[in-house]
């Protein structure tokens, strides 16, 4: 048996202002799409921020997130696959998780329509970025499906675990996590502005 390290197969592209880390796993487009999501910090952070917000909001919010987020993500990606010019600016992806992180830090329970709009907007922005990256990498629908399934898996597990935490210290820890996300977003906006 021969064990071969294929780390050289991993490729990265800086596409259209979005830090899109396109990962070639060797297992096909679906898994490449899953890995792409996991290797894109902005995408992971927005899902984490929305998971925290849902967990702070209660079980109904968590159930809503599980359905809405992956679907909106896929819809955004599909739009980018169909309309090749549609690519969001990096600042939009930063603002999406920064704003969500701030809401988590403030423990603000948004009205349901506003909450749904936030999920759809954030998912669509990141989904469009994913779709554009998948198109450029030639992963297409399979890659986008992989990325959306990654979102679904995390959205199913993380908020469900977090929402069970009822101790005040647990809620505070989540709010601190939100403040970290908001702070990271502020810094990233600084980087973005400096880069021009």
């Amino acid at each position: 048996m021969i064990a071969t390290d294929h780390c050289s197969l991993i490729t990265f592209h800086h596409a259209a202002g979005v830090l899109a880390h396109l990962v070639q796993t060797g297992f096909g487009g679906f898994y490449d799409g899953m890995a792409h999501w996991a290797a894109t910090p902005e995408d992971v952070m927005v899902v984490g921020a929305l998971a925290l917000l849902a967990a702070l909001g209660g079980k109904d919010r968590v159930r809503s997130l599980v359905v809405t987020l992956p679907l909106a993500w896929f819809a955004g990606g599909a739009l980018a696959l169909v309309i090749p010019l549609l690519v969001p600016g990096q600042v939009m992806t930063i603002v999406s998780f920064g704003l969500t992180g701030l809401l988590v830090a403030l423990d603000r329970r948004l009205p349901v329509p506003l909450y749904q709009a936030l999920i759809i907007a954030a998912a669509a922005i990141h989904g469009v970025g994913n779709g554009g990256a998948m198109r450029e990498a030639g992963l297409g629908w399979l890659g986008l499906t992989g990325a959306s399934v990654s979102v679904f898996i995390i959205t199913s597990l993380l908020p469900a675990l977090l929402v069970r935490i009822e101790k005040p210290a647990g809620r505070i820890a989540m709010r601190v996590g939100g403040s970290w996300l908001a702070a990271a977003a502020l810094l990233m906006i600084g980087w973005w502005l400096r880069a021009g």
Binding site: A3, D5, C7, P41, L186
Partner: protein, 196 residues
């Protein structure tokens, strides 16, 4: 039949950061680790951030989490100012003064209104953030750097809070105030160095 070993997913972030950093500046290895190490690279920063945790623990709820939430956000704002080249006079003096003032607060077991404590911490956080923002390495990956930077800052607060929990015991209260005196003394040394 050959078995193929593929690169672990956990290495994606560091690899991505390194790759993107190298894309523009071949000699600069920056990213998550760089961001993590930056806040702990200067003892003047370290003692001030730990002092925030000490004071928060001494003040108890809700300051114990409000101060560590306020500090990273204000620091990120300062970092953004530094990144954009917005001048902030007397940064080194402000950093040294932060250690002195926060140390004295812990030494005196001062209990100002929460908003006053928040303003004190927030104003000093601007100085710390500005210093970090102007010292950021060229070519570093902004996303990963920002995440590491905020996490390291938060963990320093957590260290301060953990130490500050000795406040619960009779012997711990004078020990904590002694720690405040040491922080203030350290700040005085840094102030002397800044003025020299």
């Amino acid at each position: 039949m050959p078995i193929t070993f593929y690169f672990p997913l956990s290495t994606f972030y560091s690899a991505a950061g390194g790759t993107l950093a190298h894309a523009s500046h071949p000699d600069t290895a920056a990213g998550l680790l760089s961001g993590l190490s930056h806040p702990v690279s200067g003892p003047d920063h370290v003692i001030a951030m730990i002092a925030v945790g000490l004071w928060g623990a001494q003040l108890g709820k809700p300051a114990v989490w409000v101060l560590p939430v306020a500090f990273p956000i204000a620091m990120a704002l300062g970092g953004m100012m530094g990144l954009l080249g917005v001048p902030l006079p007397g940064v080194e003096i402000g950093i040294a003064a932060s250690a002195i003032v926060l140390g004295i607060m812990v030494l005196a077991a001062a209990r100002p209104p929460l908003w006053v404590a928040g303003v004190i911490v927030g104003v000093f956080a601007l100085f710390h953030g500005h210093a970090h923002g102007t010292e950021l390495p060229e070519g570093a990956n902004g996303t990963l750097y920002s995440i590491g930077f905020v996490i390291a800052t938060g963990l320093l607060h957590a260290v301060g809070i953990a130490i500050g929990l000795i406040h619960r015991w009779d012997w711990g209260r004078p020990a904590l105030r002694t720690a405040g005196a040491l922080v203030a003394a350290g700040g005085a040394v840094f102030l002397y160095q800044a003025l020299a």
